[in-house]
């Protein structure tokens, strides 16, 4: 009962206050044309440049075979033995390509996680992830290294395109969590010194496959 009283109180105060309206601050500035730099090159290149600037590690793969090869090189070089991946389609793809991966079911102790994504935003070098994937909310943020497998047809130019895509794909049932992730987790809380890998992943890889 108390809750509804608080609601009524607050709404009453708001309505009372708003009985004196104020005019729109900048009537001439309304409009929908973009205020961001327009696209000047292919989304693939723009994404790769931006993502790399954010200390993301980018690899382009012409096809799935190349993905397997490059992934194998990475896993061997780092001697990773515990890879966390819960997306069955991804897993079976990787299995088929005769990759030598040892998967683990334990997220806290894994060395890296592999996930897919919703889309990539070229202008900001960002990966859009959502909880509708079997990877859920935790996989891409709790693992010390996040490896994202994406396809070139998942590229969009700007954030507004990515949001539009989500609305078209999910309608009223948007995933409970959507994250626009741009590079590895970072902080500058100590003397504005940039340190990567605070609570989220220290490294983020993106393997972009031609499709």
């Amino acid at each position: 009962m108390k809750a509804s009283t608080a609601k009524e109180n607050i709404l009453r105060k708001i309505r009372q206050a708003l009985s004196t309206p104020v005019p729109v601050p900048f009537p001439l500035s309304e409009g929908t044309e973009s205020v961001f730099q327009p696209k000047t090159q292919d989304n693939e290149i723009e994404f790769a440049e931006r993502f790399t600037k954010l200390q993301g590690r980018f690899a382009f793969c012409a096809n799935e075979t190349e993905l397997a090869e490059q992934l194998q090189i990475l896993l061997t070089a780092r001697s990773w033995q515990h890879i966390y991946c819960v997306e069955e389609t991804l897993k079976s793809n990787l299995d088929q390509s005769a990759l030598n991966i040892s998967f683990t079911n334990d997220l806290p102790s894994c060395e890296a996680s592999i996930t897919s994504c919703e889309c990539l935003v070229a202008r900001t070098g960002s990966i859009m992830l959502s909880s509708s994937s079997p990877s859920g909310r935790t996989t891409s943020v709790y693992a010390p290294v996040h490896i994202c497998i994406a396809y070139t047809n998942q590229l969009v130019y700007d954030i507004k395109d990515a949001l539009q895509l989500m609305k078209e794909k999910y309608g009223a049932n948007i995933p409970s969590l959507i994250t626009l992730a741009s590079g590895p987790s970072r902080t500058a809380d100590i003397e504005k010194t940039l340190v990567v890998g605070v609570h989220g992943p220290k490294e983020v890889f993106c393997f972009l496959i031609e499709r």
Partner: protein, 458 residues
């Protein structure tokens, strides 16, 4: 003069003469100033972007009642519970009830100024609940038992040596760790807290009406973790954080990042629309959104001050403010410091106790010039002064005192001329309120520069 004003004068007078404090703040703000222009490069017309953003916030605030109801309806349909809280105490009581129902002993918290505003940590401590700040800057401040110094960079006033020393004292780590090593220590300490906590508390940078969501902007990943592992997610958010549509994020995310930290976008920009849904793998079983008023409708009621509610808490006006840079975030003794803090605090708390903050300004207009959403901050400070005067809260001697304070706090060379005698006089005599309630303050007879020169045989 009130106690709060007297204490403000005393603290700020001391801080303004503290060269070491000044050095650290200038160092941090210089780094900020260097990156903001890089963030701005992403805009073809940054002025237009800011004007559009102000228009969007205007729309949200002018229709706040409708949007709040729309938000409540939408997010409730997805299984979240919305709780309305008119005061800080109401909000605390509701959080207390939820924690009790969940038998909560450990709670993880991501950075949120609104939880500072309601003093959530004190409340939880009194109720025997361990509240763990997970943002690195907040974690440092919590270890030190201090409130955040800056709304975006909580530990801005600490050097890396200060933090290293603090970690030695509180966490028993070896001395002399670098920022990288210190960060790793915090990472390790906090990693298990996320999985152990029964409740995760976050703020929100935006409330989205059309999809029934809240949005959180962060760099570290601690907010994502705080609303991923714990079975209950509580969001505490001021009602003014409203934006009309999810589409508006395409403008607000880059704008907030540019003005907050000079980034194109911050590392993680998350949209949360309810607890874990039936087909989803993980996430909290329950989500509560506490919509806090706590005086915001006072700002709304005055057509002039209303635009202060458009603030997206980017911190740009703090970094640009000569007063903030000289007296520091703690002298204000308020949750929200700097120009925006001086504008809103008297309305959120009460005009009598906090109107002095609108005097703590040189009215140089820097704040208005840099504001991400073009709030006329310095005009609002004047508006507050007028309101205070209209309420009969200002005397002639007080106004003269402020003049002296402004000159001495803002002017380095004058502060040095004003050695101990003058400073004692400013604090103890002009601001009688201080000595009425406390013993007199005594400043060193020598100015900092004099002492420095002596010690260094210059």
């Amino acid at each position: 003069m009130t106690d709060t004003a007297a204490s403000f004068i005393a603290k700020s007078t001391i801080k303004a003469a503290d060269m070491e404090h000044r050095r650290k703040i200038n160092f941090n703000i210089a780094k900020y100033n260097a990156v903001v222009p890089i963030g701005k490069e992403q805009f073809t017309d940054v002025m237009l972007a800011r004007e559009r953003a102000k228009n969007a916030k205007w729309r949200a605030i002018e229709n706040l009642d409708k949007y709040l109801e729309e938000f409540e309806k939408k997010i409730s349909e997805r299984g979240a519970k919305v709780i309305w809280a008119d005061t800080a105490d109401d909000a605390l009581a509701e959080i207390g009830k939820i924690c009790a129902a969940k038998n909560c002993t450990t709670l993880v918290k991501s950075k949120s100024m609104v939880t500072e505003e309601i003093h959530l940590n004190d409340f939880l401590e009194k109720n025997g609940i361990e509240s763990v700040e997970t943002d690195l800057g907040e974690y440092i401040q919590q270890l030190d038992g201090e409130p955040p110094y800056h709304i975006v960079t909580p530990a801005m006033h600490k050097s890396k040596e200060d933090v290293a020393k603090l970690f030695v004292e509180k966490l028993g780590v070896p001395p002399g760790l670098t920022p990288e090593q210190l960060t790793l220590v915090a990472r390790d300490k906090l990693r298990t807290k996320y999985t152990a906590a029964q409740v995760g508390v976050t703020g929100a940078n935006f409330i989205i009406a059309d999809t029934g969501s809240i949005a959180i902007t962060e760099n570290e990943g601690n907010a994502r973790l705080s609303c991923a592992w714990p079975p209950t997610h509580i969001v505490v958010v001021g009602i003014e954080k409203m934006i009309p549509s999810i589409n508006d994020l395409a403008l607000f995310w880059p704008l907030l990042s540019t003005y907050g930290t000079g980034q194109q976008v911050t590392v993680y920009n998350s949209i949360v629309s309810g607890p874990k849904q039936p087909n989803e793998k993980d996430g909290p079983e329950e989500m509560y959104v506490i919509l806090l008023n706590n005086g915001r409708t006072n700002l709304l009621a005055n057509a002039k001050t209303r635009e202060a509610l458009y603030c997206i808490r980017c911190g740009a006006c703090l970094n640009a403010c000569p007063v903030y840079k000289n007296i520091g975030g703690h002298s204000y003794e308020t949750t929200y410091s700097g120009p925006i803090g001086s504008v809103i605090t008297p309305h959120l708390k009460n005009m009598g106790d906090y109107k002095h903050l609108s005097n703590a300004s040189s009215l140089c207009g820097n704040c208005t010039q840099v504001c991400a959403v073009k709030i006329n901050l310095h005009e609002l400070l004047l508006e507050n002064r007028q309101e205070a005067v209209a309420q009969g809260e200002s005397s002639l001697s007080e106004r003269i005192a402020w003049k002296v304070w402004r000159q001495s706090s803002l002017n380095r060379s004058m502060m040095n001329i004003g050695n101990g005698n003058l400073k004692n006089w400013v604090v103890n005599k002009v601001f009688k309120g201080w000595t009425t309630h406390r013993s007199e303050l005594h400043f060193s007879q020598k100015t900092f520069n004099e002492m420095w020169k002596e010690q260094h045989n210059q």
